[in-house]
Every structure is written in C-alpha cells, then in structure tokens.
C-alpha cells in the first residue's frame, strides 16, 4: 500500500536527483521529517560518501542560501557566532573625541552607538538565524570542534537565540534547516544525538554509484562506467586505511578519460597503475596495490 508520505518521498527523491544527488529513500524520509519537526539532521559516515553534498543540494532545492560553518579544533563562540569590529569601534571613538562638542550627546547614547549592530561582525551562526528566509545551516565535521563548543551549539539549537551581552538577545527571525556532519573521529555527546534526526551514510552500492557516475560524468560510456564502478567497489572491499569515496571515483573516471583509456581489462593494468593516484591516497595503501592486484581487480570488473 502506498500512502501520501510514500509519494512525498518519491517526489523529493526525484527533486534531489534533478539537483544532482542520488538519495536513498531513507534519506529523503529523514529530510521530510526534518522539515516537519524542525530538528537538525545528524549525518555520519566515512569521509567521501557525500555528507556535505546533502546540505548543498538541500539548499538548492529549497532555493535558499547555504551557510557553512566548518569546525576545527579550538573553534570558539566568537569565530562561530559574532565578534565586535574593534577597529571600527576604536576609530569611531577617536572620531567622537575629535568632534569637539563633547556633551552634546549624552554618554549613554554614544556608548549605545558604539555597541550597535553596525559594529557587529556576523559569523555563520548569527547569520543563519537573522536572515529573512530560512537558510540551510551546514555545521561541517562537528567532531573536530571541542566538546565545549558542542554544548554551546546545543543551546543555540534548542532556543534559536543568541545572547550578546552588550546588545541583548537576538531572536531567530527564521529557523534554519540544520545539517550536522561528523566523521566519527570523536564520540559526540548524547545530548546532541538526542536532539537530532540520524542518518548514517554508507558507501554507495553498485547501482547507486553507477547512477552517480553516469550523472556526473556523462562522457564516460556505459560499459566503462560499469567497469569503473565494479573496480572501485572491489577496491573498497580490500583492507585499506583510506577507502576511496565518491569524489575519488569521479576523479579517477576523469583521469581515465583524460588518459584515453576506454576499457578496463587485464591488458591495460599497466596504464591503470598510472592513474591510481586519483583513487588511492596514502602511501601504505599504495603499497598494497602491486600490479597483480590491479590486474585481478581489472579482470573482475
């Protein structure tokens, strides 16, 4: 039996596909829930499976802005929310001094001028809640930020307001769609997980990856695309430090096309070796790829 919801999911999937993202139905279902419940979506998965892409395409189909906050170790509230523009403030003070007619305006008024929005530098989080249209807010690689920042973020995500001591509380004029990604280098707090919808993105299976390659690299012929995907899927099954993601598959496809390789087979193993740098990114993994292994994979694809 298909319900209204199932139709919605199918429609959203098609919209996403048109915008260039092949999504599992479960992801489409989560995106719909995210809209219904106004809750952030937490995406986990290995690097290179297209987590960041979700936010980009979400902004595209909603025809809204994407505001991105890239997390890093030591990211603090100032870099993420707001900062005063000290230079301009000091300059303004200096100008006021030179103005001569001190006392014309009372002191309180002047102070208020200096701590007004004109001197406020908006950083991504403040920007995301103070626009007119709700944007998509991408908080990328939250596992890189410190736990203290995570707590700070939680507060914002529950109240959608930011308190600036000198200015007062800024309430959200629009609630952004929040997408949070994590590579799992650090365990996230339970509180954050509780607040989010969850989606684990795995490496794509054969059909999905083939669809992606066909879409993003239409100049590769059907036969070659199939071989490429089969090869990459074979590579992923090996014990590697860094498995190739979708971006690597596309890079490699481009490299093969550039080299004029039109088919992957055992005879071309030598030339395939030359292009592997687009697919295998660490030295240790490269060592695990002697000619014989490449030939075996090529024969199997």
């Amino acid at each position: 039996m298909s319900s209204q919801r199932a139709l919605d999911i199918a429609v959203l999937q098609r919209e996403l596909a048109r915008a260039g993202y092949i999504a599992e139905p479960s992801l489409a279902a989560a995106l719909l829930l995210m809209r219904d419940l106004a809750r952030p979506l937490l995406l986990e998965g290995d690097a290179g499976v297209g987590k960041t892409e979700v936010a980009k395409v979400l902004a595209e189909i909603n025809r809204t802005r994407l505001i991105r906050l890239q997390c890093y170790e030591g990211l603090d509230a100032h870099a993420a929310m707001y900062e005063w523009n000290y230079q301009r403030q000091l300059l303004a003070i200096k100008l006021l001094e030179h103005d001569g007619q001190a006392g014309a305006k009372d002191l309180a008024q002047r102070e208020q001028d200096i701590f007004s929005e004109r001197y406020l530098l908006k950083r991504p989080l403040l920007e995301a809640i103070s626009g007119e249209r709700p944007p998509v807010l991408l908080i990328d690689e939250i596992d890189r930020a410190d736990a203290a920042f995570e707590a700070y973020l939680l507060e914002l995500l529950s109240d959608f307001q930011i308190t600036i001591p000198e200015l007062g509380t800024v309430r959200a004029t629009s609630r952004p769609l929040v997408v949070i990604t994590s590579n799992g280098t650090r365990e996230l707090s339970d509180a954050l997980r509780r607040r989010c919808l969850y989606q684990y993105i795995d490496y794509p299976d054969y059909e999905k990856e083939l669809a992606i390659v066909r879409q993003k690299a239409p100049e590769a012929e059907a036969k070659l695309a199939q071989q490429i995907v089969a090869f990459v899927q074979g590579v992923r099954r090996m014990e590697l430090q860094k498995k190739p993601g979708i971006a690597e598959t596309l890079d490699w496809t481009a490299a093969l096309l550039r080299m004029g390789i039109s088919t992957i087979d055992i005879n071309g193993a030598e030339r395939i070796m030359d292009t592997l740098s687009a697919l295998i990114k660490t030295r240790d993994d490269r060592v695990a790829f002697p000619r014989e292994v490449v030939a075996r994979l090529a024969a199997a694809s």
């Binding site: 199932a6 479960s26 219904d36 979506l41 290995d46 170790e73 000091l90 650090r186 509780r194």
Partner: protein, 375 residues
C-alpha cells in the same frame, strides 16, 4: 477485523522502542514517545515509510543504524518470523542466569521499573569483579559501557582544567603600543599574547601475551573508550614486538576494530619480551609520541622472558622522557601479591606508581588522579 488488529498494531509500535533498548539501543523513554508520535504522523500503514522514519528518529549512532533493519523486521514482520528471535533471546537469558549476575536480556520488555535497580547493583558487582572472571559476552558489553563512562569522567576533569587555563586571554601590551604608533597612538590593532598550551597525553602500552589474555581484552576496550573521549591517546600493544594500534582502535565500526585488533595480535607467538619491546618503543615511537606532558601507562603482568637488565634500561630511558611512568598490573590486587617476579623487580626502581588494575574499581581509582597530575 477493523478496530482490533489496528489496536494491536499500535500497541506493537508502542513497544518497539523497548525492544530496541533491550537490544542495546541508547534511546531514552521520553524521546521514544516523541519519536513515535512523529512517526505516526507520517503514517503507520506503509511499512517502508514507517521503517525509514523510525530509523531516522530512533537511531543515534552507526552501529545502531546497521542493526536497525534486522530488528525492525524481527519486530514488525508476521508473527512466525518475529517470534523466533525473541524466543532465542529468552533461551540465552535462561542459560546465562546460571552465571552470577544473571541476564538483563532475559527480562520481559514490560517490567521496566525493575531494571534500574538491578542495573545499579549489577554495576557494583561488575566493577569489583576481576576481569579474568568475566568471560561472558554480555558482561563484556556492560564493562565496555562502564569504561566509556569512566573515560567520560576523565574528559570532564580535563575540560574543567582547560577551561580554567583558558580564562584570561592576555593582551600583548608592548606589541599593541608599538603597532599603535602608525595610527597616531590609537591602538587599532590589538595584539594578543599567544598561549602556549600543550595538552596532556596518554600513551598506553598493553601487554597482549598469552599470560595476559584474560585482561588484555578489557584493556583494549579501555584504550578504545579513552581514545574516543580524550583526543590525545596513543595506544600500542606488545608481546615480542611493539605495534601501534591507535588507528585500528579508531575504526568507526566497533566490530571491525575488534577484528583488526584480533588480526594484529594473532600473528605472534613465543614468550613475552617486555624489555625488548620497550626498547623498540623507545627507538621507533617514543621520540614522536612521548613529550613532557605524557603519562606512559604500561599494562602488563610483568612476566618477562627477556633480560631484566634490558627492561631496566628501557624503563629508565622512558622515565627520562615522560612526565609519569605508571605500571598497571592486573595481578597486584590479589591477596598476598608481591612484585617478586624478575620483570617487576627490574621495573620497580623506575616507576612513579605501581597500581593494581585487575578490575574496574581499581582502574577508576588510578586514572583520575593521573590525569589531574598531568596539567
């Protein structure tokens, strides 16, 4: 037909979170109710829509995500299919009830008010039980949860310390004034003094030789929990050689991590050569991973088949490099233990601390103090 099966279906849905919890999911009761309400609004009659919605709402992490579909099938598919896993579970429970501590999974999903109390007393039992007596898989899971909690406590100590240290960003006054000359004496560009902060670091050296087999299993779990919570933990295992295992421990998939470790540890044979292993560690790894704020923890029973002199030399060298050198010996809280074996005799003069580590309670008494001293 009509109302009756509908009611049963709703009932079934309502008890699904309890079923997930019984299978180790972390979702709390209140959240589950909210999640179900949200899922109901998307429609409960379409099985795949319900699956996708519940998956997004009830999963919290990758391993739950991977197990969800199977559990969903077990719970919602027609009776003859879902009853099987449930019964198997009950049988498991009955079996392990024979062991001390009993089984949680054997309980029915309904008697929830009973569970917390039992869990609390279980925790006491588990934390004072010697690791070597805990062979059951479910014990391992619970110990793992307790270790994660210990690691989280340690993180809080560290965060508190760091917050204290961070307070007070300091202005570089001479620099600011020098820069202000260009703007007529107005300090437009403020310069800040860089804070030198060196995070404390833990290095774990885990003995995985045969005599340690009952303990190293837990120590590896401890290493994994610590690595997940504190960001500067480096783990090595040794036997006759030293191997870095931080990467394997960091594998986001716990099962795969375990498998990788198993493979790493498996390939070795022969006696324990602690001295040689430590000397190798000093040569190959110490320059990179051991700095002035590092605590090196050696987790071993001290049964060494190598030269005592070599062990002594290696430890002396390590001691000079590290801030703290701690030996955690799983046997030393046994009554009547004295560090008489050759290895321990050679090691004693160089250690800051010889601590027992046979059970969780003793680890809990050592680690927090250690972290405090590093700052």
């Amino acid at each position: 037909m009509g109302a009756a099966p509908q009611l049963r279906a709703a009932d079934r849905l309502g008890r699904f979170p309890g079923f997930l919890r019984a299978n180790g999911f972390g979702i709390a009761g209140g959240d589950a109710v909210q999640a179900l309400r949200a899922a109901e609004r998307t429609g409960v009659l379409d099985q795949s829509v319900l699956r996708w919605s519940l998956k997004a709402l009830l999963c919290r992490r990758g391993d739950e995500w991977r197990r969800f579909d199977e559990l969903f099938d077990a719970w919602f598919l027609p009776a003859n299919r879902w009853q099987r896993p449930e019964r198997r579970e009950a049988a498991d429970g009955a079996q392990s009830d024979a062991h001390p501590g009993g089984s949680r999974e054997g309980e029915k999903a309904d008697d929830e008010d009973l569970r917390p109390r039992r869990a609390a007393s279980r925790e006491e039992v588990l934390s004072s039980a010697d690791f070597s007596a805990l062979a059951e898989r479910e014990h391992a899971l619970e110990i793992e949860a307790l270790m994660r909690r210990l690691a989280r406590q340690l993180k809080h100590i560290r965060l508190r310390r760091e917050a204290r240290a961070r307070r007070g960003r300091r202005l570089d006054l001479p620099g600011t004034i020098r820069r202000s000359v260009a703007s007529g004496g107005t300090p437009i560009h403020l310069l800040w003094r860089n804070q030198r902060s060196e995070r404390p670091r833990l290095v774990l050296l885990i003995d995985v030789s045969r005599s340690m087999v009952l303990y190293s299993f837990f120590y590896l779990r401890l290493a994994r929990a610590l690595a997940n919570e504190l960001d500067d933990v480096h783990s090595f295992i040794f036997h006759t050689r030293v191997t870095a295992v931080s990467q394997a421990l960091h594998d986001s998939d716990p099962w795969r991590a375990q498998e990788r470790l198993h493979l790493i540890a498996q390939g070795w044979a022969g006696g324990t050569r602690i001295g040689e292993s430590l000397a190798q560690f000093n040569r190959e790894h110490a320059p990179r991973v051991v700095h002035g704020r590092t605590a090196v923890l050696i987790l071993s029973d001290g049964y060494d088949t190598g030269e005592p002199q070599q062990l002594s030399d290696a430890l002396a060298q390590l001691r000079r490099r590290a801030r703290r050198l701690v030996w955690i010996n799983p046997l030393s809280n046994r009554p009547g233990y004295a560090p008489t074996c050759q290895g321990m005799q050679a090691a004693m003069p160089h250690l800051d601390l010889l601590a027992p580590g046979g059970d969780l309670a003793s680890l809990r008494s050592v680690l927090p103090n250690l972290i405090e001293t590093l700052h």
